[in-house]
Symmetry: C2
Subunit: 156 residues, 2 copies
DNA sequence: GGGAGATGGTTGCATATGCAACTACCATCC
DNA sequence: GGATGGTAGTTGCATATGCAACCATCTCCC
């Protein structure tokens, strides 16, 4: 197969995939062991929590959660059924709607946060020292950044 | 929410998740643009390709691909239907079966590899220099290592 | 030999997820 | 005002994925 991709690049790629899956699986295991919802639930609720007034447009939220639009629609449906958030019409744009965190949503967030936090610490951030963590963050941020050619464009 | 998780840890965690999703999405986009199968297909075929004799036990394969057992069963079903591999009974263990790459499977692998390779290079490995790549690999490998293993090898 | 328990693999079922089509609405041009 | 094109969000459909139950087989121990 004559791979012109250097071994170091391959090793890095494999380490990247492997680390992601293993770490997230360990953290998810901690959540399910306590009968808590998945990371996606947390991300949506937390994304709303961070926003001023605890509400955000669906599209902004989808971007934050790294989920497709349709996926977010379904997830928000579930969260709304559980009473953790409500949908409000956007006053300035009839097409858009805002997801608004409820008191119960904040409560749910508080309840799951300790487990999530401990998972991140145990399986991720506490396994590296401060310098290493900073280095890792900088490298990952560069990888996540939009490619230069498409920096100004909306399509990915 | 009083997060005792330091901001640097949070930033690192978010960068980790974000980088993974964005990079893999870009690479997958390249594959689908050429009507090629997904990364999972490639990983299975390549996992077999690497093995001596181009065959491996299902369980070993599942570990390599980072997929659940049942997920692998289904994926291998599809690949077998396409004629890219065959299942053989394991001579030494009646429970186990081996997946054996076929000539067509090797062919399929050769066909998709250039696109995959270019995707990895363009969206991942070529965005960092050699030193950075080595650093990243080392850090990710430590994160991926089993907790017990990590505990025993505490250092730095 | 034969039962108890563990392991490899498959399948039923439920859930998750994405793409593409669709509706409703906004913005622009004429 | 009305047509045209673009955007926000939802839904139909197909697929992917995992957990847990299940069968067959192996290992261990008596």
């Amino acid at each position: 197969m004559k791979p012109p991709l250097p071994p170091a690049h391959r090793a890095a790629w494999r380490a990247f995939i492997s680390a992601y899956w293993r770490v997230t699986a360990r953290i998810e295991a901690g959540l399910t062991a306590r009968a808590l919802p998945t990371l996606a639930w947390y991300d949506v609720l937390y994304g709303l929590y961070l926003a001023p007034g605890h509400h955000r447009r669906m599209s902004e939220l989808a971007d934050h959660v790294l989920l497709s639009r349709s996926g977010l629609t379904r997830l928000v449906d579930k969260l709304e059924q559980k009473g953790l958030l409500v949908r409000n019409a956007c006053p300035s744009d009839g097409r858009a709607s805002h997801a608004q965190l409820t008191a119960r949503g904040v409560e749910a967030l508080r309840k799951m946060w300790p487990t999530y936090r401990d998972g991140i610490a145990a399986h991720f951030s506490s396994r590296l020292n401060a310098n290493e963590l900073a280095t890792l963050t900088a490298l990952l941020d560069r990888l996540a950044a939009e490619p230069a050619e498409q920096a100004g464009r909306k399509e990915s």
